[in-house]
Amino acid sequence: MKQAKIFMLLALTFMLALAGCSGSGAGGGGAQPEGDGTVKENPKGAGQSEKVTITVQYPPPDQEVDRKAMDDKIARFQQQYPQVVIEKSDWFYSDGGAATLGLKLAAGEAPSYYNTYATEAKILTDKGYAADITSLLNGYEYKDQINQSLLDIFHVDGKYYAIPQGGYVMSVGLNAKLFRDNGAELPPYDWTWEEMIEAAKSVNAPDKGIAGFAVAGQSNAAGWNLTNFMYQAGDFVEEVKDGKVTATFNSEAGLKVLELYRDLRWKYNVLPGDWNLANPDLSNLYKQGRLGIIFHSGSLNTGINDGGFAPEDAKIYPLPSMEKGSPNYAITGGNFFVINPQQSPEQQEMAFKFITYDYFQDSGIETEELKIQERQKNKQMHIPELMPYYNLDSEYAKRMNEMYAKYPGVVYEYDPEFMKIYSSNAMPEPPFDAQEYYAIMTNIIQEIFSNKNADLRQLLKDGAEKMQAAYLDKIEL
């Protein structure tokens, strides 16, 4: 009898352990994926009681206003859709969140939708980690009023994969106080590379730990930053020719950009001594007053709200052009919502409705106003999106601006001269294997920054050959 007990106990243990070992990895209540990436109806989500459960991203405890706004949104949404059960997830797609997305999906624990960035469009759509929302978007009554250039970022092979939250065209920030303290004049908005270098030199003080200029030197952000200069120099990195994608950056234009980077580091020494940085480290330097010019689209918030700069001291500038009159190309970026493809069609539909619930509505303006009042209370400024999800010439934009006008000195007012120039030459990211290209360029940048005598032509040649052989040659158009 005792022996039987022992055996039963051991057998039970191993069964439990094996059960743990044999998990498919695609657990949870998600829909079962088909081989072609489509999704079957999920009995858990849209089950017998016709209830639909969606999991929404819920702000962390320190963001009280956002939490209140979300609670309010959930209550209003459930009033209109009482069949929807809403669960909360505190997971966000951020620098760390990107690392856990695969695991969340594997465990069936990813929320019904998640935030992401423009730079992630390629990898998320390639991997099938973003649901095709074309039909949902086509049925949306305000589709035509959504900013098309933002929608286009997640428009792949005729299908849409994301709803924009807001976007920007790459820009730089200038610490005007530093310029004033050094008796230096601010450059004009339609500045050139040459003027950018002169401006950087005028506030540069390496012995005090103050750098005139900072561009990302680490992670793929470095390659991403550099690509703006590539475009300005006239090289668009890749081209499609005779049904083949070719890397073009081993060019005279590419060489000019690398020479610019080399000179910033070695000739003018205007970069931070510890140049191997990206955000948030660069932002930290900027708000400490240790950077004259920062290559960062969120510089206003960093300077005014995080760094305590007076609004007139945190200047935002369009990217420069290579020479007077040439286009100041700048890459478009932004924040997006992507719907989890593991969810059933009903859940996906409800997630779409939840995301867009306040879009183009009075409630959206009210939520924005609450955020402004919170900023006001904290003696901060509200920085409106440079490229909101709606078209700037839409009726909704007018109403939003009327609300903004009620808060002078709280809502940041962009200089009309800046607005005229900054987005006139907006450009998308390189269309093929952008992240891989950025990684290659980051290594090239780091070689230039760490080796005064780096052979620029050879670096470009090797980089382009690697890009071609390892990635572009494998693309079938």
């Binding site: 022992i6 070992c21 695969g102 999906l105 001594g273 191997n276 690697k466």
Partner: protein
């Protein structure tokens, strides 16, 4: 005849039952460990091998690709750079850090006073949380930071601690040594404390000085700890990626990209779980072989002694 023999000789099944009865409680207490090891150790290892033979996609499902992931890795130049960097990191760890805890432990053991204080002091760096550690050392390594200030006292030029390709790995090893030597020193110290006191007393009576005591008593008595620490350091440093990720992001130009950093980047930035798993399997095999080799050497050394 055959039946008689069988009756006399217990079968392996009955032997197992007999042992099971004897060890019932022992086995019972082992159950949680069996479950934990199976779920958290052996499952990931088996899944890693499975993933390494597949193209992993959590939405569309996995596709069997045979050895393609392994072929892709071998064709990637960065793979060999990462191996080279990891070996360099391991080597520097041995040269710059391996001996430090043993020296500290021996020195503390020879102290007549303040032994407990010295133990605490060497252990203190170990309790600094990783985030604070990296923040602190990045500040120390700043171009106009304290270390370069210190160098200027001796009229030495400033060092680009983290942005010079030939220096960055040294800087990381220096930081790591400072952080970890205390905990290892305590292990050595425990071993030293276990050496019978009468050996030292006898040696002192025979006129042995401090160096002779260390050479002829302390070091031979703790040589098994040296080997154990060597194996542990080799394994830990072969898998290191956190300091590189935090201090340099693997740069400049891949100069500090270690093998594990490449694995982590592959899995969690590029979502190439198959390729990353294949690299994990190769590391697993290499470290297993290394451990077997070192233990064999230890056994051989033990037999000879």
């Amino acid at each position: 005849m055959k039946t008689q023999l069988a009756a006399q000789k217990p079968t392996s099944g009955t032997r197992f039952l007999k042992h099971s009865r004897l060890y019932f409680w022992g086995l019972l207490f082992l159950i949680p460990e069996i479950v934990i090891f199976c779920v958290f150790l052996w499952k990931p290892i088996i899944m890693g091998i499975y993933y390494s033979l597949h193209d992993i996609n959590f939405i569309r499902g996995n596709t069997f690709v045979g050895l393609q992931n392994y072929r892709d890795i071998i064709q990637d130049e960065a793979f060999f750079t990462a191996i080279g960097n990891t070996l360099w990191f391991v080597f520097l760890g041995l040269v710059m850090g391996y001996w430090v805890p043993a020296v500290a432990a021996t020195a503390i053991s020879e102290l007549r006073k303040f032994k407990a204080t010295a133990r605490l002091v060497v252990y203190l760096p170990n309790i600094v949380p990783a985030v604070a550690l990296y923040g602190m050392w990045r500040w120390l390594y700043e171009p106009i930071g304290p270390l370069n200030d210190f160098l200027t006292i001796f009229q030495l030029p400033p060092v680009e601690w983290l942005t010079d390709k030939s220096v960055a790995m040294f800087s990381i090893v220096l930081m790591n040594t400072w952080h970890y030597f205390g905990s290892t020193a305590l292990i050595y110290l425990a071993a030293v404390m276990n050496i019978p006191k009468d050996l030292y007393e006898a040696a002192e009576m025979d006129g042995a000085g401090i160096w002779q005591r260390i050479k002829y008593i302390t070091l031979p008595s703790i040589r098994h700890i040296f080997l154990l620490m060597l194996i542990m350091q080799l394994i830990a440093n072969s898998q290191a990626y956190e300091p590189q990720l935090a201090m340099t992001g693997g740069g400049p130009n891949e100069a500090t990209t270690t093998y594990m950093l490449m694995v982590v980047d592959g899995a969690f930035k590029q979502f190439a779980f198959g390729k990353a798993s294949a690299m994990g399997v190769l590391l697993f095999v290499s470290l297993t072989l290394l451990s077997i080799l070192l233990y064999a050497l230890q056994r051989k050394g033990g037999d000879e002694s």
